[in-house]
């Protein structure tokens, strides 16, 4: 069994002032270092505060149900402050682990932040008395203040804490960071070799308001971008330190500004960076000229959120794009890169007819014979606190442990044998707000839709299996010749 990875200098590793733990249970286990916590570490370092970052991705004992492992990690920390960086699927685990520490003495101060605390801060403080502060939004400026001057931090926007009467106080989200003034991530502090992909962030925020997405509540509509040269300097440092050419651009809509995209592509080419990168885009923010330049700079895959199969549902989720635009752009993009067409199904207002149209569109994309393939993905809509969809439809939430929900695909069923399953399920069932992604929305003809999605996914698995077998066979022949 492998264990969690820790990052920092020797003295930081043995007795840091702050212990940051990144509780990320994505499927890309260990491929990408946790960028958010590393940026927080850099800001703490600039303020003279030592910090250790622990990444649980490599720890096969650590998952959304590993109460004892997390509790033991907390007990073992010698820091004066612990910071949890979470997505919303880790909230029940944190609550259950802290419940199990009830009665322990001399525990460190505990702070929590990350995308997972959006929309739940006051309730989380009520439910988990050991948590001192919840930070909603970007944390680089706030965290050093929270560590050294908690009383001053408590009145900052986005910081939720307890007032004198014990009631949660706080409002909004933290002030937006000026990205060019943030201390750079020390890519050389990462352990040697375990990571294979550089996570690259060139901007934060999203100007769109898709109803299922929590980005607005987390960061706001304003897009804040880094200077092109500074962003590429950072990219060069990261690819050198990690000794990799694989890059994942994390920007929510990398293609929002054409001039900037062309500038980044030109600079990547000017510096002769031999990288392969992937981006998130929108069908109405990318054109042929951008595609040509992106491809020439090394872009190998573009992710598009199609998110529905007809214009009626697109209107209801405030997507502000038509299916016709999606088709035109995705087919064009498949001339230049591999394309991911991501669909969301199971909206409360999705009729069976709309669902069928989504499946037909996904099939149409999958069967498209372009230069590169279009890979559809079908995701059950994941309830997420802080989103407009959640506010409108939270009364329809359903907890069904027999159904795989997102982003917990496979987890509820695959983990039902684990000892801690019933404890986590108790936390989840008592408060949907604190465990939203474990639920699903009520939607017409759910069972029929689910069966159709399973059939579709099986056909995709077969296609992917075929592709892998071809490449494995070629690889074997190459290896033996």
């Amino acid at each position: 069994m492998s264990s969690s990875l820790s990052m920092g200098t020797d003295s930081q590793l043995t007795r840091p002032e702050v212990d940051l733990i990144s509780l990320r249970f994505g499927r890309l286990r260990g491929a990408m270092p946790p960028l958010g916590p590393l940026s927080l570490k850099a800001s703490l370092g600039a303020a003279g505060i030592s910090c250790r970052v622990t990444d649980v991705q490599f720890d096969t004992n650590m998952n959304a149900f590993s109460i004892e492992s997390l509790a033991n990690w907390i007990r073992g920390s010698r820091a004066s402050t612990i910071g949890f960086s979470v997505f919303n699927d880790a909230i029940p685990l944190v609550i259950a682990a802290l419940d199990s520490l009830h009665g322990d003495r001399d525990l460190p101060r505990m702070l929590i932040g990350g995308p997972g605390v959006v929309g739940i801060a006051p309730r989380l403080l009520m439910r988990a008395p050991l948590i001192e502060m919840v930070v909603v939004g970007e944390g680089e400026s706030v965290l050093p203040v929270a560590v050294r001057e908690p009383q001053r931090a408590a009145v900052l926007p986005g910081v939720f804490s307890r007032g004198r009467d014990g009631i949660a106080v706080g409002t909004g989200r933290t002030r937006r960071e000026q990205l060019d003034t943030l201390p750079p991530v020390d890519w050389w502090s990462l352990p040697e070799h375990p990571y294979t992909i550089v996570p690259w962030s060139t901007m934060r925020g999203c100007p769109f308001s898709c109803e299922f997405c929590e980005i607005i509540a987390f960061m706001g509509r304003k897009v804040v971008a880094r200077d092109v040269m500074a962003a590429i300097d950072d990219l060069e440092r990261a690819t050198t330190a990690l000794a990799t050419t694989q890059v994942a651009v994390l920007d929510d809509t990398f293609t929002i500004n054409k001039r900037r995209v062309l500038g980044l592509c030109a600079e990547i080419q000017r510096r002769k960076l031999r990288i392969s990168f992937e981006i998130f885009s929108r069908a109405d923010t990318i054109d042929r000229e951008m595609m040509e330049n992106l491809s020439a700079a090394g872009c190998s895959r573009v992710f598009f959120g199609v998110d529905a199969g007809d214009d009626a549902v697109l209107n209801l989720i405030d997507k502000r794009i038509t299916i016709e635009q999606m088709e035109r752009t995705l087919f064009q993009a498949a001339e230049f890169f591999q394309v991911t067409a991501s669909f969301i199904w199971g909206y409360p207002f999705e009729s069976h007819g709309s669902f069928q149209r989504m499946l037909e569109l996904a099939n149409q994309f999958h069967k498209h014979k372009g230069t590169f393939p279009i890979w559809p993905q079908l995701h059950l809509v994941s309830p997420s606190a802080g989103t407009p969809l959640f506010e409108k439809f939270r009364s329809t939430l359903i907890l069904d442990p027999a159904v795989e929900t997102l982003p917990m695909a496979g987890v509820l069923s695959a983990n039902s044998f684990r000892r801690s399953f019933s404890t986590i399920l108790d936390v989840v069932s008592l408060d949907p707000l604190l465990a939203a992604p474990f639920y699903r929305y009520e939607t017409p003809m759910f069972e029929q839709k689910r069966a159709a999605v399973e059939d579709f996914n099986r056909s995709l698995d077969v296609s992917l299996g075929e592709l892998l077998i071809q490449e494995l066979t070629i690889g074997e022949e190459y290896a033996t010749n």
Binding site: R27, G465, I474
Partner: protein
Amino acid sequence: MQQISKGVKEALGRIAVDPTMMELFICDPDRMLSEMNLDLSPSEIVCLTSYVSLLKSGRPAVEAALSRALRSADRMAQR
């Protein structure tokens, strides 16, 4: 290329995008196949095992294909 059954391809495709399934297949193949509702013959399981071993051995071309598939599946974790 030899004829490979649909069930083997399906299992391999699923394993490629889901490390949990990879782990489960290595620890307990019967359980993994039952979770996928797949009924493979002993010879199909041998065939699947050999491909999973190759996947794990990380030949460069395979690694690239696998990482593409994995990255594609990772979107939800980033949302």
